[in-house]
Symmetry: C2
Subunit: 212 residues, 2 copies
């Protein structure tokens, strides 16, 4: 059974409206906090009546969580793909920092949304960001486990190191957002600093001995 053309175009229209609701919200949060934005405003800016909002999202919270997923999942996948086959710390570090820099450059609004709402007023969004960050950390823990296979690292210590690396990278993202894309030489200095810091952590890992 093939889909009828009119139903396909209806699905497309629905998808377009859904995307517009996400875009409109992302635009509004560049100026204000997510908690202060009403469903009514978002619907109006997307050109639909408020009740039609519920055909796409159960609530503004659910829309916020979707924004988190749309920003963080592709990044995590890209970093996963890039790591495949790299075998040294410095390969992984250089590659990861490069992907991060590119994503921040191409999607600054998404990243400022994430960094500001990470401790913002909407609990569901805060939780979604925390979960995605934990997934980043656990991906990295697996990579580090592979790289430290010869050492006696406990999983707990690997997670500790991965958590520090993710913290350092988050800080890099926030510094990059602060340069505002206007000063490419600042961005280059931030990325160089980030690489050195990740390298310093990797060196620390070489000297670390887990307590049994």
């Amino acid at each position: 059974m093939t889909e009828r053309p009119e139903s396909r175009s209806r699905a497309e229209r629905k998808e377009r409206t859904r995307q517009r609701l996400l875009d409109v919200t992302l635009h509004l949060v560049t100026e204000r906090s997510l908690a202060s934005i009403s469903l009514r405003e978002v619907a109006r800016d997307a050109g639909i009546v408020p009740t039609a909002f519920y055909r796409h999202f159960a609530s503004m919270d659910a829309l916020g969580v979707e924004l988190v997923d749309e920003s963080m999942r592709p990044l995590r996948q890209m970093i996963r793909d890039a790591r495949r086959g790299r075998v040294t710390h410095s390969d992984i570090i250089a590659e990861t920092v490069e992907i991060l820099a590119k994503q921040v450059r191409e999607h600054p609004d998404q990243f400022s949304f994430l960094t500001r709402e990470r401790f913002g007023g909407v609990a569901a969004v805060r939780r979604a960001i925390a979960t995605e960050l934990r997934l980043f950390t656990s991906d990295l823990t697996v990579d580090l486990a592979r790289l430290t296979a010869g050492y006696d690292w406990t999983t707990d210590d690997l997670e500790m190191a991965a958590d520090l690396m993710v913290t350092a990278m988050l800080n890099t993202v926030m510094d990059l957002l602060e340069t505002d894309g206007r000063h490419p030489e600042d961005a280059a200095a931030i990325l160089e600093l980030s690489e050195r810091q990740l390298r310093l952590i990797a060196l620390g890992m070489g000297a670390w001995r887990s307590k049994p």
Copy 2:
């Protein structure tokens, strides 16, 4: 010449009002962003007419900057005092983490103000926080210079390591604030993680060689 009693009590009254303006603002920012709070609201909550505000602060921005100073300067001084005389990385790390934990526990509102306004909407406050953080980093750079006196570390690399340590500590503060004081066992785990991360960085420093 001795001060007359009535002028002393007038100075005291002025100081009390000034402090009330700061307290009222700190209370309002637990719920909302500093940028969204008006001078009029702050004056009303402090029980003064709006024009009287200007006897204490030139603007809401100036009041925000004062809040930053009042929160960050004592902390920096405490950490400076504590470091005096400590000679190993682990002494300094344990002591610093302890002070940080105590300050966050005693002044959670100040710290959530700082972490949220660090990338918030008021440029003067953002700059003041960035400046204070740079001062923290430069204090720590000096300490690290002392500890690494035997090694060929460039100042640039010392700053890089200090910056990473400050980033890690900031993250600790944010994690502590998230536990909300309700789960002391969570706070203990966060502090233990923080100590291990700072120790990992210190180990990395032992293995690092600056490029000449």
